[in-house]
């Protein structure tokens, strides 16, 4: 009996179920969802607010589990993902499927019961969008995969807002647009320096299909409407000057790093410092921007 078949016959460790939910990705989802909830007009009981954020986190975990259930073959050939529970053989696929579906249904029902069914419906839509539209439909078919798939990650502030108000208005839709437009530069920066991995797995990421030059141009192109979406809440009078200054300064910095990426000619990941810098900054950018929005909201109140 080989180690591989032996590990399959063992029940998975609970830690592997936790790993299946991609806890690190969840932090950004939880944070943006929380910010959407905090800036929404009206009042939500703290316990219900906590439950809403818990549901967003569980929903994101469910989507991540179902993504890995579907992509086990793909994860196995990429260095970055080969050690995940399924490709590493620490869990069987059926367990991941049951866990993902169960967690997803649980999060949606709990959201509906604790807050309102509009928020629950948006949460359900975000899970289904990530799993069906991004993972199953687009990811392996088109280099536009993450452009449209990025919408899945843009839902949390909308859900947080909807948990309080029961509807969606201009500000949460702008926050949706901001994350939606932020996703391509964020992911393409990453895919530039892990390109060989995507090529090996046959995923049509933009650098694989169109080359590094075109990808760098697209990063720069997407940064402009992203910056516009970032300052729009201030420009439209939906956020104060504090947010406006933060959004303007952070977006200029983002643009500066995107220009550096555009100017870079390197083809070897070792020489892709600008890309790595932009990727790291892009995460900080979103955290800082949403943080500024909440602080601005509190100052105004």
């Amino acid at each position: 009996m080989t180690t591989q078949t032996l590990s399959y016959s063992l029940p998975a460790e609970w830690r592997d179920f936790l790993a299946l939910t991609k806890p690190r990705v969840m932090t950004l989802v939880v944070f943006t969802g929380l910010c959407g909830l905090l800036v929404a007009p009206g009042h939500l009981h703290p316990v219900l607010g906590f439950t809403a954020i818990l549901c967003i986190a569980l929903g994101a975990g469910a989507a991540a589990a179902l993504n890995q259930w579907y992509e086990a073959d793909l994860d196995a050939v990429m260095k970055r993902t080969a050690s995940r529970p399924l490709p590493a053989g620490r869990m069987d696929r059926q367990s991941a499927l049951h866990f993902g579906v169960g967690l997803g249904v649980f999060s949606v029902v709990l959201m509906g019961v604790a807050t309102n069914w509009f928020a629950a419906a948006v949460l359900a839509a975000s899970i289904l969008f990530y799993v069906l539209v991004y993972t199953v439909w687009l990811k392996r078919r088109t280099p536009q995969n993450i452009v449209i798939g990025g919408a899945a990650g843009a839902f949390p502030p909308l859900i947080g807002w909807a948990a309080v108000t029961g509807d969606a208005s201009t500000l949460p839709l702008l926050l949706f647009a901001l994350i939606f437009l932020w996703t391509p530069p964020h992911f393409w920066a990453l895919s530039l320096f892990v390109r060989s991995d995507y090529a090996k797995a046959g995923v049509p990421m933009l650098p694989v299909v169109a080359g590094a030059r075109a990808t760098r141009a697209q990063i720069l192109l997407y940064t402009v409407p992203m910056a516009a979406a970032a300052v729009a809440p201030w420009a439209l009078g939906l956020a104060g000057l504090l947010y406006g200054i933060a959004a303007g300064a952070l977006s200029l910095l983002f643009l500066g790093l995107a220009v550096q990426v555009f100017a870079n000619q390197a083809t070897e990941p070792a020489q892709m410092k600008p890309e790595k810098r932009l990727f790291a900054f892009s995460i900080l950018y979103l955290f800082a921007l949403f943080g500024a929005l909440v602080v601005d909201h509190w100052v105004a109140a």
């Binding site: 063992l10 029940p11 460790e13």
Partner: protein, 46 residues
């Protein structure tokens, strides 16, 4: 005479036990959460 040690069976038992413990903690947390949600709902609508 004690039965022969079986490392695979012992490992299965260990994993089942740790999963059961985590599940128990999660269920307990859920019960507490539902209790507080009920209190909150009564405070809001009551």
């Amino acid at each position: 005479m004690s039965p022969r040690p079986d490392p695979v069976r012992d490992e299965i038992r260990r994993r089942q036990k740790s999963r059961a413990v985590v599940m128990a903690i999660a269920l307990f947390a859920f019960v507490i959460l539902v209790y507080f949600i009920s209190i909150a709902k009564m405070a809001v609508y009551g």
